[in-house]
Symmetry: C2
Subunit: 475 residues, 2 copies
């Protein structure tokens, strides 16, 4: 097929004007559209996006030709399933073969405005190249979604996130600028910066905050040590990405109690920027899927077939407005459920009522039960543990053991906290656990994404083998 | 007086279009203007800026009224001297009394697009509030100045500087975006980030670099440890602010040899953004004073009277295009000399041929000689010391001693390096010193501004007093 760019695609990069301050919607017509009508809009954009990718990207063209798919013959959203799912490892392989951006850049390199990337902690780093028009379109999309979160031009947004390779903070920054808010990109990650952050929060009195849930709680802790009550900062809206915490009910509630503001869950993947197309509105009933910007399928993790409402599936994302490095059917590896029940906000987008509650590859099977890290966090927070905690799954003589260390809480005896955690783990997960209450402040803090839960069973097995070997030798 | 905004002031915020790639100038008419004509342009803008400040800012109005100055009666650049000089401490006092921005903000708070600030290491932090129009005007000014440094839209700029409160990296970023280059804001300051930077430099092959001179040299060192020659990164232009190093001949030469690219010195003060209005062109013969954006006086540090060409003076800056927090006669505390000799680039701006070579308050008097830290660095680098070094001035029985620790160099014996340093210090400063060669890599590195020179004489005196006291007691 040959791609004929239409006057409508891609949409102009300005993202439209901000509405009146009392409007609940940035773009009422688009956000409250009948879902059947939206499906037609999505299909139109999808056809244009697929045609563009096929025309501009040898990477996609080769893949799709090899799979025997003609993107020109995609005539329904259902047809999209004929296009092969794309995995991150394939992007890394392509970039290694065609550095630095891979043959899915789709614009000449000199049109790249910004370079970002992954940290490469799980393999070769991936480079992101974003054109000026895409950058502006991302800003416009984020402005629209941040408006739904309750942010207005009169707000001052404190951005407590690392500005560098990581996409999160930049996306929140350009959305806030486009929306017309005052942006304070304070950053994170530099030694000593959290103490400074507390003083600036007290002095500047921002009305909105962006970061990771773990880091917000860390800031609150340091604030209290310095004699501030985080509620006094006057933050009205806190919005988050990078971790599932803001979508875990007990953690959401903890953040809202701590700061006295609304806790909003957001975030898909850096590759998918505008990464805010998973985002809660100010009703906070799970992230909406802003399908007219990025179209999201939920697929069974094994069969890759669509799942129905309420069923566990993997979100798989397709850009509808990207010209540089567009992603078509990118497999997230996350796990979620969707609902198409109405949201009181009036938006007609589907929602993920439980957020992204796990990853297909880090679901734990403990004594035969499926256990997601987010469910463990929910149980521990619901027990009243507001501090840090760590969970290890170990194997003791072929039996899985959940061992939890949770920090002591003022006003609650260690005994009562331990019993509460045991009770919630039993109630929510149907599991028994070993709980140790440790000194408040003794577990390590993070300014980025927390890693609280680890599966040590492989290690347990190795240790047992070693012990048996050594017994064998000594016998 | 009442301020009547003219159609010409402030100039439109877009900064004008990029010229043809082969044009040496962004704005030829303005940059190569006859200095006498430029003085008229500067005066016109100055009158508008002063009128604006008087009208919008109770802070300026009160100060100037108290000094008996009517800004409406300023009718020559020479008249500007009637307005009192402004010191940073006065800004801090004003912000403490009228938080957070002080009464020199001059725009309603909701018009502030971006908040930044000082780190507050030398007192209460200062908050910067920048309006959207100013932000865009700063981007335009920086684009124009970066063009003069040799940066073109085809360049990829690696920004190895901390993104947070600090203004430097943001200014380089928005200038690069406005110029049309590809910007890679990598950041700095986070543990482990330098190793990552090296891998990305090797993979992405940027053609331009921004950071501090110290950090560029640190990156080069880590690159070599990882088996890379920094020349292979292919960087054509390195531009710097935050430290005087890029204007110190031997350090400039070291950076150019290390990376194989041109080393460009830039930078006035964060308060003065666009801070690039001190900036070298690609001829690299000292920073031009881009006087039609920020008007710069050089004043005697004691009398506050203008100094002539070649005489040591303190740069004192006045914004000509700022609406939010404009600065009028801000005392930098730095020391420099200017020349109005022609530059081969064809620009008719004055230049600072020796950069900002010291600070009025950190000039050392050693055995009766005036010694600037930059001159010590020049001498040590000229001796062939490419590694880190530290200098202490101590007092031993009423005699000042310069003690230098310099890291060993491969291919040069410790004895020869020590002799070379002693020789250069004697030749350039007329001083004797104690030089110790220490193991390569043993002195601490920085990712920001280096602090290599310290005056310990106060401490020496205290120690001597203590020793005498203790003798007295034991006698």
């Amino acid at each position: 097929m040959t791609f004929t760019p239409s006057a409508e695609w891609p949409p102009p990069p300005d993202g439209g004007s901000a509405p009146r301050v009392d409007s609940p919607y940035w773009n009422p017509a688009v956000e409250t559209m009948d879902p059947a009508d939206r499906a037609l809009v999505v299909l139109d954009k999808l056809k244009a996006q697929l045609g563009y990718c096929y025309e501009k990207s040898p990477f996609y063209r080769e893949r799709w030709d090899a799979a025997g798919v003609d993107p020109g013959k995609i005539s329904s959203l259902d047809d999209l399933r004929r296009i092969p799912v794309l995995r991150k490892q394939e992007l890394r392989t392509e970039q290694a073969a065609h550095p630095p951006f891979g043959r899915y850049l789709c614009v000449p390199r000199h049109e790249v405005l910004r370079v970002h990337g992954t940290s490469g902690t799980t393999g070769r780093p991936t480079a992101f190249g974003v054109s000026r028009d895409d950058w502006n379109r991302i800003a416009g999309a984020h402005a629209r979604i941040m408006w739904a979160a309750g942010i207005r031009p009169s707000d001052t947004i404190f951005l407590g996130s690392f500005f560098g390779l990581y996409w999160g903070g930049w996306g929140a920054l350009i959305g806030g600028e486009r929306l017309g808010a005052t942006c304070f990109p304070f950053g994170a990650g530099v030694p000593g910066q959290t103490q400074q952050a507390v003083e600036w929060l007290a002095q500047m009195q921002p009305t909105a905050f962006y970061g990771t849930p773990s880091y917000a709680l860390r800031i609150a802790e340091v604030a209290r040590e310095a004699g501030h009550d985080p509620v006094d900062f006057g933050i009205r809206v806190l919005f988050f990405s990078g971790e599932p915490g803001a979508g875990i009910p007990a953690t959401k509630s903890l953040i809202e109690r701590t700061f006295g503001g609304a806790c909003i869950d957001m975030g898909s993947m850096a590759e998918m920027s505008p990464w805010m197309t998973n985002a809660e509105c100010d009703e906070r009933r799970g992230m909406h899927l802003w399908d007219d910007i990025v179209y999201t399928e939920l697929l069974d993790s094994i069969t890759e077939e669509p799942v129905g409402p309420g069923e566990v599936g993997v979100p798989v994302y397709t850009h509808l407005e990207r010209q540089s490095q567009p992603m078509v059917r990118l497999w997230s590896g996350d796990l979620s459920r969707y609902t198409d029940e109405a949201c009181p906000c009036g938006r007609t987008y589907r929602r993920l009522p439980d957020g992204l509650f796990g990853r297909a590859d880090d679901m734990l099977v403990v004594r035969g039960e499926n256990v997601y890290p987010a469910a463990i966090e929910e149980a521990i927070r619901a027990a009243g543990c507001d501090g840090e905690f760590r969970v290890e799954v170990v194997r003791d003589h072929a039996l899985d053991e959940l061992t939890i260390r949770a920090e002591a809480m003022p006003g609650l005896s260690d005994h009562d906290l331990r019993e509460a955690v045991l009770g919630q783990i039993k109630k929510k997960l149907g599991l028994r656990a070993t709980v140790e209450i440790v000194r408040a402040g003794s577990l390590e803090r993070t300014e980025f994404k927390a890693r609280r839960i680890s599966d040590r069973r492989e290690l347990s097995r190795e240790l047992e083998t070693l012990q048996q070997d050594s017994k064998g030798t000594s016998a």
